[in-house]
Amino acid sequence: MTQTRLLDVDGSEIRNTDNERWWSVADDLTDEQHVEMLRSMVLTRAFDTEAGNLQRQGKLGLWVPSIGQEGGQAGVAFAMRDQDTLFPSYREHLMVHQRGVRFEQIVDIFRGATHGGWDPAETRGARLYSLVIGTQSLHATGYAMGVRFDGASGTGDPEADEAVVVCYGDGASSQGDASEALIFAASYEAPVLFMVQNNKWAISVPSSVQSRTSLAQRASGFGVSAASVDGNDALASYVVSRAMLDAARSENAPQYLELDTYRIGAHTTSDDPTKYRSSDELESWKRRDPIERMRGFLRARGIGDDVFSAIDTEAKDVAAEIRRHTLGASTPSSDEIFDFVYTDANASLEEQKLALARFEASFGGDE
């Protein structure tokens, strides 16, 4: 399967017969849109880097860096339409933020204050992070089945028809849930895009252990249309996913997009990648950085340094703001343990809550 790429690693345009139909879409994007994409990548990286720092300083229990994967994430996030729904994995900081999740809400998960922390009704359909690998592929597929049952897709009006994006990784592609999701999506003609970021590693296990074919190739066996893009090329990721999402929404045809990318950081802050991958490999991927590529492209289009430095200034503010939030944030009330187990009161939990209060009061504390 050929991989679509529009920008070379330095941001210069690659135009050939293979990608000219994609350029015809990309050429319609305005520089304002390009700059917005760059901005989302730069701000996310600043946030991500500062969250990593906060973890090292003991302020977060764990951090999951997305550095290096911002290109594909920006492409697909910008390709999504307002009415769409996003089922992230746990590394899609840019994507959920783009839909309306505040960076603070992401950090609250990793400082141990919440398992979720946002309401999808307030985040333009960005659902919660999902930590059990692959599970969300089924939730997204079920949701997309519901979209179709509602008649909210397939009318042919891309401004109204809904589509669903679900994110998972090369490791997740081996899970039974991921295969079952493809089966259900195909059988029920669900308007869902499987956005698979092949970042080459599932913690320490290389993607060659998960699959000996490209992941995109697998999808055809399920009867799902598939494509492959350079996931560090935001522009290519945008045009291809835009078309696939519109096919999903208009034709109720599930889609599978493999994004070829790389996890520059550790799997999480608990990981030590020097134990399993070479610095040569890492360096070669650093030279393919999605942000530098977009910047190169924009520079060539005559975007001035003032634009870049304004974004950089904003990025510093984002970092400072997340630091301020994290250092000032409070501990959740112990009521959080009991209050949301069921949608209404549960006698046994109420008793346990009371017993805890009585126990705490027995120390004679200042109530």
């Binding site: 999808p120 939730h139 079920g142 519901g146 509602d150 079952e180 089966i183 259900f184 069921y342």
Partner: protein
């Protein structure tokens, strides 16, 4: 309307009435369409409501539960059929780590009204994996409601209430009693979904059980009565939450108690009930709370099921033991 119905038909009628009342109710499962399920519990519903409401799904339990979760996020109320007790495990993660925790993860901002129907228990002489009682796993899982009717009227009303619940409900069906008839009144519910109910009054010993076991307890109580021992039978219709009031009240009266279940006894619902009752009724107890369970071994080949499953004789043996104190 009041009529005599077997439990399977009462369940069928409940789903039909729920689907007629609410368009968001969907049925999902393997072979539940034209075949009506391997036990015919969904018989005729596809013909009546169409393929958009009754989904013959791919053969994948995680897929069924996982997509039901997504459908619930979209506003649907899916009712999923698991074909047999022993086949729920491929969907276990989607039930215990996803469905059960979703409301909590969303801090109560989204409801997950999914019903998972599981025909369970022995006495049907089937091959391996077709006669188990996995309800303890689910009752152990916070966020799930777990119920188990034993009568046709309860089958009808508890299914209606389960479908109306905004929380996930694991609905254990007494498959050995699917064709046992009882009076069903569709006029109004007699009990709330999670009430324990005294099925038969008595004064000497309290017998506690759920689902098909209640029928065994009633049989044991009748035999004991002839021997001069008066048994009260309490039907624990809901395993989570578990309504202890009627159990405690009964035990304060009788002072003696036998808890019976088909599942292995080790770390079981029966153990939990026994522990709670001794905490709450210590001064009323005349004898230790006894448990009668399946053995701590895999469910045996069908020719041995009668040995493995507690029957009236094993219950009566325990009654003799508590009466000896």
């Amino acid at each position: 309307m009041t009529e005599q119905l077997p439990i399977a038909k009462a369940l069928n009628l409940a789903m039909r009435d729920a689907m007629a009342a609410d368009d968001s109710v969907l049925l999902m499962g393997e072979d539940i369409g034209d075949l009506g399920g391997v036990f015919r519990v969904t018989d005729g519903l596809k013909a009546e409501f169409g393929t958009g409401r009754v989904l013959d799904t791919p053969l994948a339990e995680a897929g069924i539960i996982g997509t039901a979760i997504g459908l619930a996020m979209r506003g649907y109320r899916p009712v999923c059929e698991i074909q047999f007790d022993g086949f729920v495990y491929p969907g276990f993660d989607q039930i215990v780590s996803q469905l059960a925790k979703m409301t909590n993860r969303h801090r109560g901002r989204q409801a997950f009204p999914v019903v998972v129907r599981i025909p369970h228990g022995g006495h049907i002489g089937a091959v391996e994996h077709h006669q188990e009682s996995p309800e303890g796993y689910f009752a152990h899982t916070s966020g799930l409601r777990v119920v188990a009717p034993s009568t046709a009227n309860d089958a009808y009303w508890m299914m209606r209430q389960a479908i109306e619940s905004n929380d996930p409900v694991i609905f254990m069906e007494p498959k050995a009693k699917y064709w046992a008839k009882g009076e069903v009144s569709t006029e109004g519910a007699q009990y709330a979904l999670h009430e324990s109910v005294v099925a038969k009054q008595g004064t000497d010993v309290t017998l506690i059980g759920h689902s098909a076991m209640v029928h065994v307890l009633m049989q044991a109580a009748a035999i004991a009565e002839n021997e001069g021992v008066s048994c009260e039978v309490v039907d624990v219709r809901s395993l989570s939450p578990l309504d202890y009031e009627p159990l405690v009240e009964s035990l304060r009266k009788t002072g003696r108690c036998v808890v019976a279940q088909e599942a292995p006894g080790h770390v079981s619902l029966g153990s939990e009930i026994a522990a709670t009752l001794q905490e709450r009724c210590f001064y009323s107890l005349e004898a230790p709370v006894m448990r009668v369970s399946g053995f701590d071994a895999p469910f045996p080949p069908a020719q041995l099921e009668a040995v493995y499953l507690p029957d009236a004789d094993r219950v009566l043996d325990a009654v003799d033991r508590v009466m000896a104190y």
